[in-house]
């Protein structure tokens, strides 16, 4: 009776408390969770090599000891039957799931030979795309050294709208790069957040707000999770937040509730914008000969250096420039635009599905809290102008936004609108407001332009992903067409700073073998839940040309589990799971720092795999070595690094700057920069597998203009210069693209895109009907369809977990009771969901906490039959579904050109939530399965028998 030998069992048996001897044979290892991308600190208990218990690390800055459902369930993922066991070579047709196990040496030989040939001819024929892995600083560097432009991580289909809008506006962003001031905020506005990457920190924070009785307003079509505990739930119509936010701005302008002091000190509100319609510099900021931005100083009644301390800049008015042309302060343009009737609450109410008085009340509450309940911390600090401030005065109105904003084609401009709202009330990195997570802020916008120049056998001149400042930085040919496979940094998506991963397969399919030879996918389930349309995507992956060769010649997949995508690989590189390898959560990548200071972390192997699998990073480094790539091999082509652990410690991106910022320098006492420290990993382990630098109190706020902070950040290598970071109320780079579209400059968009660029590259935020919505017949598809993150599931990985799948083995389509009544359905009824792209059959559940024109479901619960080592009749595939079946990565075709991507026209962000649908009852006979169901293709090892499934019943 195995239950008897469990200590827990014995103890429950005890009448008189008999406590389990504190597990004498137990060892406890501190590492970093990776059941999701939040990266909490965990303590892993092992008993004679067996995983016994995972708990939160109370000393860890991210989770302070708490642990979410996924984190606790990690113990079962370590037992998942879906874990890959050895390198695989495809034997059956693509997608059949038939493979034969091969040795690592053979696997690496196949890959090396293939990549060598590509690199010798045209490195861009390698398309390397990685998911939510946290080694983008390594994978990106590999791509650069290999010499391909065609690299990106998941950001393009995730939330690049937040990143781009944030970085181009305030030098930081929502997503996981900023956080509300949980200690001081008195009002929190949540826009479209169900869970977010900061799963545990946000929950901890909401708990703190509740404790202090602060008010939480959730703007969201659905009332679950965070919205469930919000004090006010605003059931907005999807895609209309831009209107709502700009209406708030309208009200604040009306009431004069604007922090003008903040604007002139920290933003470009007072910068003069040239008003010379038709000129090549119309709409750009006026500068003097030395290139300094100009403003109008009311004290001296003359133009002045906008940066000069002590001046009294005009925010309204119309002034003459030296050359006689007119110019107006950016703020004047803004005030003039948002004061118009079209932005009045009464004008937007119907469209947003929010009553005008509610909008006015919320605006008034924002003003009340920001200006009448300001937070004052008596903490002196010195700004970049050298002025000493006796205290830190804050606007305790915090905002946080995520994919409810990002996943719409108007998401970039909407997110900009939110940042503008924050700036107008002075709520950027002040006490009680939204704060930067160190190493942010970075200059607006941060970083160099994307790498362009490639040549056979050589590296890319710059990292493949960068920050275009204007048309000259785009990756386009002389016809203005894209150089990159996914068309990032082309006129179709000029600010696609994370690439367009969701287009990679479709574009590779279009381009054909001449453009793309090998598609290399790491940690993304691209044939299923990250495919905007799985049926189409899998078709493209398995379709052949006239000669009978696959349109996409070769597919390498690096995965840890038998996901839907593995079945479409020609070569599978099996990875370890998160408890079996070193990982590095680097400041060069997606940091875990907080407003309290920069931090990074590592994962350490605590379990022996006991399978023929290898950490992907080790494999990639070995591959790079075999290919003799710079930075991975020496002049004679000898590999530089023996493993990822070795690379983490010794690799330097710049002198003194490496993957880990902590314990650098010979003595391990240098932070941020310093010589590599051979003892670094040991020091991390001793410290609980993380490093954090606590910022001193005077550096905690106003980081964009806080001299002490900026100097420190520069010293630690986070930023190149410690100059003031000017907040971009007015986004000048956008205007440069617009001017090109209007016929100025050497590099202009192709005619088919001129109007589009001219329209969407507005330097001031504006709202437009999401592209797909505009192009589809709303009378046929009247409803919005969106998804939410289930708190206890992580995308497609959750279902292989014996505990998590008990919570959510299948999903339903939720809709408002009234809506349900109107189409004659009730709980558990079957419906057809129809969109322009396809039909989906599923069951419904009714509720009241949802916008009346919106239907929604939990994301990525449905699974393809046979995948993830689940039984063919698992509820995940029989009754579960993914909305992706009725989405498309393309907008409706217009004219001859290949259809445009279903993405934000500025950033290329996948517009998942622009989907509109119609719903009708299934009948007369009651279905038993969701549809569509792509055929079952379980992983089959040729020679090996069908793996029999464990089933205790």
């Amino acid at each position: 009776m195995h239950w008897m030998n469990s200590s827990a069992g014995l103890i429950i048996a005890a009448k008189t408390i008999r406590i389990r001897p504190a597990c004498p044979v137990r060892t406890v290892a501190k590492t970093t969770c990776y059941m999701c991308a939040c990266r909490c600190g965990i303590k892993v208990h092992l008993q004679d090599g067996k995983l016994r218990y995972i708990e939160g690390n109370r000393d860890h800055p991210v989770n302070r000891g708490v642990l979410c459902a996924k984190g606790s369930a990690g113990i079962m993922t370590a037992l998942s039957p879906a874990r890959l066991t050895s390198p695989l070579k495809r034997v059956g047709p693509r997608g059949s799931g038939s493979f034969t196990a091969i040795s690592w040496d053979e696997a690496l030989q196949i890959a090396t030979r293939r990549l060598q040939a590509i690199r010798a001819t045209d490195p861009n024929r390698l398309a390397f795309y990685t998911g939510r892995d946290q080694s983008q600083s390594l994978t990106g560097h590999f791509a650069r050294m290999f010499g391909t432009r065609n690299y990106a991580a998941h950001g393009g289909f995730c939330s690049v709208n937040m990143a781009a809008a944030g970085l181009y506006s305030v030098g930081g962003s929502f997503w996981e790069f900023g956080e509300p001031d949980w200690e001081h905020a008195r009002l929190l506005l949540l826009f479209g957040v169900a869970e977010d990457h900061d799963s545990n920190p946000i929950k901890l924070g909401l708990g703190k707000l509740k404790e202090r009785g602060a008010k939480i307003i959730s703007v969201n079509p659905v009332r679950t999770g965070y919205s469930a505990i919000a004090d006010e739930f605003v059931a907005i119509r999807p895609g209309t937040d831009g209107l709502f936010v700009l209406a708030l701005v309208h009200c604040l302008l009306e009431a004069g509730s604007i922090d003008t002091e903040f604007l002139v000190r920290y933003s470009n509100a007072h910068h003069l914008v040239i008003h010379a319609p038709g000129d090549a510099d119309h709409g750009l900021i006026a500068r003097d000969a030395a290139g300094r931005e100009l403003t109008y100083d009311r004290k001296t009644a003359a133009l002045a250096d906008a940066d000069a301390p002590g001046i009294d800049p005009a925010l309204l008015g119309d002034f003459a420039l030296a050359d006689g042309r007119r110019a107006r302060p950016a703020f004047a343009l803004l005030a003039e635009r948002y004061s118009r009737r079209e932005y009045a609450p009464e004008a937007v109410a119907a469209n947003c599905g929010i009553e005008a008085p509610t909008i006015r009340r919320i605006a008034a509450e924002i003003a009340e809290i920001a200006f009448r309940q300001a937070v004052v911390l008596d903490q002196p600090w010195i700004d970049t102008a050298g002025r000493r401030h006796a205290s830190m005065v804050g606007r305790p109105v915090a905002m946080h936004a995520m994919r409810g904003i990002a996943a719409h084609s108007n998401g970039f401009q909407t997110c900009r609108a939110i940042h503008v709202l924050q700036m107008l009330i002075g709520a950027i990195d002040t006490p009680g407001s939204w704060r930067y997570k160190s190493p942010y802020p970075k200059p607006v916008p941060g970083g160099p332009p994307p790498g362009r120049a490639t040549a056979p056998g050589s590296a890319l001149d710059a990292p493949p992903l960068g920050f275009p400042m204007g048309p000259e930085d785009l990756l386009v040919d002389e016809d203005g067409e894209a150089l990159r496979l996914d068309r990032a940094f082309s006129w179709e998506a000029p600010l696609a700073i994370h690439g367009l991963m969701h287009m990679a397969i479709a574009r590779a399919f279009e381009a054909g073998a001449s453009k793309v030879d090998t598609l290399f996918l790491f940690m993304a389930n691209m044939a299923w839940n990250s495919a905007m349309n799985p049926r189409e995507t899998t078709r493209m992956l398995s379709e052949c040309d006239a000669e009978g060769n696959y349109r996409i010649p070769f597919v390498i997949v690096a995965d840890a589990f038998s996901s839907e995508t593995v079945a479409y690989a020609d070569l599978v590189l099996p990875d370890t799971t998160y408890l079996e390898r070193y990982d590095c959560i680097s400041l060069l990548d997606r940091p875990i720092g907080s407003a309290h200071g920069p931090a990074d972390a590592i994962r350490i192997p605590v379990l022996a795999p006991g399978r023929d699998v290898r950490p992907f990073q080790d494999v990639l480094i070995e591959l790079a070595g075999r290919l003799g790539l710079d930075d991975f091999a020496d002049a004679d082509g000898r590999p530089l690094y023996s493993s990822y652990a070795d690379y983490i410690v010794r690799h330097q991106r710049k002198p003194g700057v490496g993957p880990l910022a902590g314990f650098r320098g010979r003595g391990g006492d240098e932070a941020g920069t310093g010589a590599p420290n051979p003892e670094q990993l040991r020091r991390y382990v001793e410290n609980g597998s993380f490093w954090m630098h606590e910022l001193p109190p005077e550096q905690l706020y106003f980081k964009h203009a806080n001299r002490a902070y900026l100097t420190g950040a520069k010293a630690m290598g986070f930023i190149e210069s410690d100059a003031r970071i000017v907040l971009g109320l007015y986004c000048e780079p956008l205007q440069r693209f617009r001017l090109a579209a209007q016929g100025h400059g050497p590099r202009q968009p192709p005619s088919r895109l001129r109007a589009r660029v001219a329209r969407f590259f507005d330097p001031l935020p504006f709202w437009f009907v999401p592209l797909e919505e505009e192009m589809t017949d709303r009378s046929r598809f009247p409803l919005h369809a969106i998804t939410q993150r289930p708190m206890a599931m992580y995308h497609s990985w959750g279902s292989q977990n014996a505990w998590l799948r008990q919570i959510l083995p299948e999903n339903r389509l939720y809709l408002h009771r009234e809506l349900a009544r109107s189409i004659g359905v009730t709980d558990e009824d079957w419906v057809w969901v129809r969109s322009r792209s396809g039909n989906l059959r599923c069951q419904v559940r009714t509720m009241t906490g949802v916008n009346r024109s919106t239907v929604w479901t939990w994301n990525a619960v449905g699974k393809r039959a046979g995948a993830w080592a689940l039984h063919r009749d698992a509820p995940e595939s029989r009754r579960g579904f993914i909305l992706n079946h009725v989405i498309s990565e393309f907008l409706p075709r217009q004219g001859a050109a290949s259809p445009a991507s279903n993405s934000d026209p500025v950033t290329g962000q996948a517009a998942w939530f622009d989907l509109t649908v119609a719903i009708e009852r299934c009948g007369p006979e009651v279905p038993t399965e969701t549809a569509p169901r792509l055929g079952a293709n379980p992983l089959r090892l040729v020679g090996a028998p069908e793996p029999e499934r464990r089933s205790e019943r």
Binding site: M4, S6, A8, G9, I11, I12, R20, P21, K50, R52, Y53, V66, L67, C68, A69, G71, S72, A73, R186, N200, K203, L204, G207, G213, A214, K215, A228, I229, E254, A255, G256, T260, V264, R265, G310, I311, D312, S339, R340, R360, Q373, M791, A792, A802, W803, L804, R805, Q806, M847, T848, G849, A869, L870, H871, D873, A874, R949, S951, E952, R953
Partner: protein, 246 residues
């Protein structure tokens, strides 16, 4: 011994206080409970059909979510449900074997797995559905209030709290002695009007649930916002007349 213990002077009443106002329904408490009481594959809380068509298993804590409506105000409420360690625990007195018992010293209701015959009667006697039969081992299971954590002096004091309390990311779960009026939990119950579930069934649960509340920080504006005026508002003009200093 299934007679309920005589109330002893100074005896503790250990239990949980769960805040429905902050519970986001994340299931962290449920899974951490499962994990703590399973310890890997030890199987204290078995799973049935792990990867098959009917995934199911024994859980000592399950999280429901509901939509509520009171005087026009509607919201979503998440309810984690586990043993409430009742004072009048019928689940104890009905037990024919003495396996189900309530501890005199701290009021924790436990099952002795070495005595339980799996007759299910206690689960019938529990109005809260807090007891689940372990069909693999033929015995009843229930929340132990993590008796093997809270009394384990080999753990640092801070960690001597139930696994679900330690895990709860929104800190909606509180553990303590409800017999002591000055304890943090008793204070919470007093301030926030902590309620019993199905009070009038007379089980006198120890665990309490704190009802949803409204934000206490006054956000309605002190004065009415200015009348909407189109064009740049007069208020704004007034504001911009003030000299600024960069």
């Amino acid at each position: 011994m299934t007679m309920l213990p005589k109330p002893q002077p100074g005896a503790k009443k250990l239990g949980l206080v769960i805040d429905l106002d902050t519970c986001v329904g994340c299931h962290a408490c449920a899974v951490s409970c499962k994990e703590w009481n399973t310890q890997g594959e030890a199987g204290i809380l078995p799973d049935y059909d792990r990867y098959g068509p009917k995934p199911d298993g024994v859980w000592l804590n399950r999280v429901h979510s509901y939509e509520t409506e009171t005087q026009g105000c509607s919201r979503t409420v998440n309810l984690p449900r586990s043993c409430l360690h009742c004072e009048d625990a019928l689940c104890v007195t009905v037990c024919p074997t003495g396996a189900s018992y309530k501890r005199a010293e701290d009021g924790i209701v436990l099952i002795d797995p070495e005595i339980c015959i799996g007759c299910k009667l206690c689960s019938w006697a529990c109005p809260y559905g807090a007891r689940e039969l372990d069909e693999t081992n033929g015995i009843m299971r229930k929340c132990t209030l993590c008796v093997d954590r809270i009394n384990d002096d080999s753990l640092p004091a801070a960690e001597r709290e139930p696994a679900c309390v330690a895990a709860c990311p929104s800190r909606a779960r509180h553990f303590g002695d409800l017999a002591d009026p000055d304890s943090e939990v008793s204070q919470l119950v007093a301030q926030r009007g902590g309620a019993d579930l199905m009070a009038d069934l007379g089980y006198r649960p120890t665990n309490k649930y704190l009802p949803p509340r409204r934000a206490s920080i006054p956000t309605p504006p002190a004065s009415e916002p200015e009348k909407p005026a189109l064009g740049i508002g007069s208020a704004l003009l007034r504001l911009l007349d003030r000299t600024l200093s960069r």
